[in-house]
């Protein structure tokens, strides 16, 4: 009997909630009828029947959470097979193949500097939303603009609920016009407001990069300190999942090379919240690089007011044999590698840079002094990268502490391919980090 499997409804969807059945056993459905509502990590979607027939079984109960993509959820007998025994034919209709997300799973985080107060479990997405909402409550000049940020509740649901609370004057849907609205936001910042400009992804910010760099970053200097430009450009950065070359790029090194900008790329939800709040309060222009694959990952976030200082790295895991330096999603890769290394008796210290400009050289050098070996882990290209910069810092100021050359583990130096196997081969992997760490430890 044909079954419908839970389809992947976005490139990064791995599971969903079966919010509601709109059909019952015995109902006759026509092709195109809506049979269920599915909540994904981004939105509530309607699931339609591709073929007509009679519903013979609901295989997943309404309200079921965490239903994996590819799970059979309903059985519908075709018109000419009603009452027939289950056919041996392969499952009909949207034969969805669970997209094997190349995303590194969130590794268990041991945080030496973990907050002492009460915390709660939150996704990065919720933490970012809370950061914006709290700052908008505190400061009437803060507003958010971008594509689909208001009525759609955010292309990635990061701005969910903001329109309802703050209204259309402060949560503003823009046309698809990155160059224009980045410029308009920058002008509003020059005029005394504190805009948060969301790019649906940073890939599209390339159309707007002139305003980020020439208009926002240089204004204070060019005006001899007269004119400030307090603006936050934020959105997902780096590779997502199977969206290929034009939608998968890490711009961290680009922006981090520009004096006059602050560049932040957090990994965990608590840092995402605390750093976004700091970014909004900063009198300087900030590029805030999020990661789509991290949006749905959960972390402990301190209750109440939580602001993380800009420009300070974090020791995510203490260790003594080798230092793994990373940022954004690369931190998860480094933590996974550290687990493997620990099983082999190698103690890895993991440093999350958190801010890419200004870079916390002191934390990197302090860890190097302790371990004498260092590997940089970066979800991005190797050439002229943050990894290159860290290696230069180690040469310039940590040379005497080095017992081995610094190595970098990055994405392959190619545009990101689409095919699942090629994509996997191109992206930074924990096993390569493990190999590099062993190499610098000569083990």
């Amino acid at each position: 009997m044909p079954q419908i499997l839970l389809p992947a409804m976005s490139p990064t969807m791995e599971e969903g909630t079966l919010a509601k059945w709109l059909v019952a056993v015995g109902d006759v459905v026509k092709p195109g009828d809506v049979i269920a509502e599915i909540e994904t990590d981004k939105a509530t979607m309607e699931l339609e029947a591709d073929d007509g027939g009679t519903v013979t079984a609901l295989l997943v109960a309404a309200g079921a959470e965490g239903v994996k993509v590819g799970t059979p959820i309903i059985a519908i007998a075709g018109e000419d097979e009603a009452e027939a025994p289950a056919p041996a034919a392969p499952a009909a209709t949207p034969a969805p193949v669970a997209a094997p997300a190349p995303a590194p799973a969130a590794a268990p985080v041991t945080t030496p500097e973990a907050a002492t107060g009460p915390t709660r479990r939150q996704t990065v997405r919720e933490a970012l939303r809370d950061a914006m909402a709290e700052e908008m409550r505190a400061d009437g000049t803060v507003f958010v603009m971008g594509e689909e940020v208001a009525e759609y509740q955010g292309a990635y649901k990061v701005t969910q609920g903001l329109l309802e609370e703050f209204g259309p004057a402060r949560v503003i849907d823009t046309p698809i016009t990155e160059y224009g609205f980045a410029g308009l936001g920058t002008g509003a910042a020059m005029g005394g407001l504190k805009p948060i400009v969301e790019f649906m992804t940073f890939n599209f910010a390339m159309q707007a990069i002139d305003h980020i760099i020439n208009s926002a970053a240089k204004t204070l200097y060019m005006s001899g300190g007269q004119m400030r430009c307090p603006i936050v450009f934020r959105g997902p950065n780096g590779a997502a999942s199977r969206v290929a070359a034009q939608h998968s790029q890490n711009f961290g090194p680009w922006y981090a090379s520009v004096p006059g900008l602050i560049v932040i790329a957090p990994y965990s939800a608590d840092d995402a919240k605390g750093l976004l709040k700091a970014a909004i309060r900063s009198p300087d222009p900030v590029v805030f690089l999020e990661n789509e694959l991290l949006y749905g990952q959960s972390f402990d976030v301190p209750d109440g007011e939580h602001v993380v200082p800009i420009g300070k790295a974090r020791v995510v895991r203490a260790g003594s044999d080798v230092t793994l330096v990373s940022y954004s999603i690369g931190v998860g890769v480094a933590l996974a590698a550290a687990d493997t290394l620990a099983a082999d008796g190698i103690s890895a210290e993991v440093i999350d840079l958190r801010t890419l400009r200004p870079l916390d050289r002191a934390s990197v050098l302090a860890s190097l002094k302790k371990t004498n070996r260092l590997v940089v882990v970066e979800e991005g290209w190797p050439t002229c990268s943050i990894a290159s910069e860290i290696m230069a810092i180690c040469m310039e100021d940590g040379f005497d502490d080095l017992d081995a050359p610094v190595l970098r583990v990055t994405n392959a130096d190619v545009p990101l391919p689409y095919a699942a196997n090629l994509e996997k081969a191109a992206l930074v992997k924990a096993e390569d980090v493990v190999s590099a760490a062993r190499a610098v430890c000569y083990r």
């Binding site: 046309p175 308009l184 920058t186 002008g187 060019m222 300190g225 006059g260 801010t355």
Partner: protein, 369 residues
């Protein structure tokens, strides 16, 4: 009586006659496209100025002219470096516009910005000292000719990237509307900038959100060396907002009273909450695009004809004398006074010290991280 030359316009715009010229009411284009039915302002009337207003505008235009001439000389002497774009010939545009704006309104323009700053009331010494790269310059010597700002005077630059100021200006207007402070933004750009895509992104959002902004195209006929009709499929630039329902008016930018009349009406429209407006100011620059431009793309005769027949300063001077508001001697006295101001600014700019080396690393970021 002095009058703007009709041949100037038709000679440069594919023989099309100009619409909306306040002083040539009979020259309407025969086959103008049908206009959309959205609201648009009336034809502006030429401003009727008092004696005091006339003399003040005269003084300001002469100040810009003499300042720019002196800047050109200092450039020739090697005292001003890099790019230096002079405003000579276009003085009526900014003087006529600024005369009608209020304190608290925001102004933004491109790199041909010295005139705008003087018209905003910014001290000539601080501008000239910026051109010579001195610590006393308005940007402490870190900006130069193209990058000057005065938040105090509502002057938001001074931007070196062609057309970047257009969405920035829309953003200044957005801030006024957000605060509901009753002020407006004026964003000046050239005929060259009018072909940049971001201009239309800004038009779209400005109209969509009814932003209080006046877009002013200072059409000086040449985008560096390329004449308008070699670069623009629609060379009647005041029509460039129509696809976005931004109404446009064409104004004789060589006549300060025509500009001021249009300014008055445009400001009333925009301040009244009716959304953005586009003004195309037909003007002309006498000098090259920048100091290093030999201007071989136009004839000497063309420039000479403009200077003789359409000069905004000579035109106003003639009118003041004709109307009996002042005699030649009184205007000469203003000229002398302006020369002194400019000479003083130049001396100051040459004598002021360069920035301290410690200034190299200040003003990069405001916060401490």
């Amino acid at each position: 009586m002095w009058a703007p030359s009709a041949t100037f316009y038709t000679g440069l715009s594919r023989q099309r006659k100009v619409k909306h010229l306040a002083r040539s009411p009979g020259s309407k284009a025969a086959s103008a496209p049908k206009k959309g039915d959205w609201p648009r302002p009336h034809e502006p009337e030429r401003f009727v100025a008092s004696r005091e207003q006339l003399l003040d505008m005269y003084r300001q235009m002469v100040l810009i002219r003499r300042f720019e001439e002196r800047a050109g000389q200092l450039y020739g002497m090697g005292q001003i470096g890099g790019f230096c774009h002079l405003y000579i010939g276009q003085e009526a545009v900014v003087v006529g516009m600024q005369a009608e704006l209020s304190r608290g309104d925001s102004i933004i323009t491109g790199y041909r910005d010295h005139g705008h700053m003087l018209a905003c009331g910014i001290d000539a010494k601080a501008v000239m000292a910026e051109l010579t790269g001195r610590a006393a310059g308005i940007s402490r010597g870190k900006g130069g000719s193209m990058h000057m700002f005065s938040v105090e005077h509502g002057f938001y630059g001074g931007h070196g990237i062609v057309a970047a100021q257009v969405p920035l200006g829309a953003g200044l207007a957005f801030a006024h509307k957000y605060r509901n402070d009753g002020h407006i933004a004026v964003t000046y750009f050239g005929d060259g900038a009018s072909n940049q895509g971001q201009v239309y992104e800004a038009f779209n959002m400005a109209e969509l959100w009814t932003l209080p902004v006046i877009f002013i195209i200072e059409n000086n006929q040449y985008a560096m060396g390329t004449s308008v009709n070699r670069a623009s499929a629609e060379d009647q630039l005041y029509r460039r907002g129509e696809s976005f329902r931004v109404p446009g008016l064409q104004v004789d930018g060589m006549d300060v009273l025509a500009v001021r009349g249009a300014a008055k009406q445009a400001i009333e429209w925009v301040r009244g909450g009716k959304g953005p407006l586009l003004l195309e100011m037909k003007t002309y620059r006498y000098r090259g695009h920048s100091m290093s431009d030999p201007a071989k793309y136009r004839s000497r005769e063309e420039v000479q004809a403009m200077r003789e027949k359409s000069d905004p300063i000579e035109g106003l001077k003639h009118e003041i004398i004709e109307a009996g508001h002042a005699d030649e001697a009184a205007l000469k006295a203003i000229d002398r006074e302006v020369r002194e101001v400019v000479a003083e600014a130049a001396d100051f700019a040459l004598e002021a010290p360069e920035p301290a080396l410690a200034e190299l690393t200040t003003d990069v970021l405001l916060g401490t991280y």
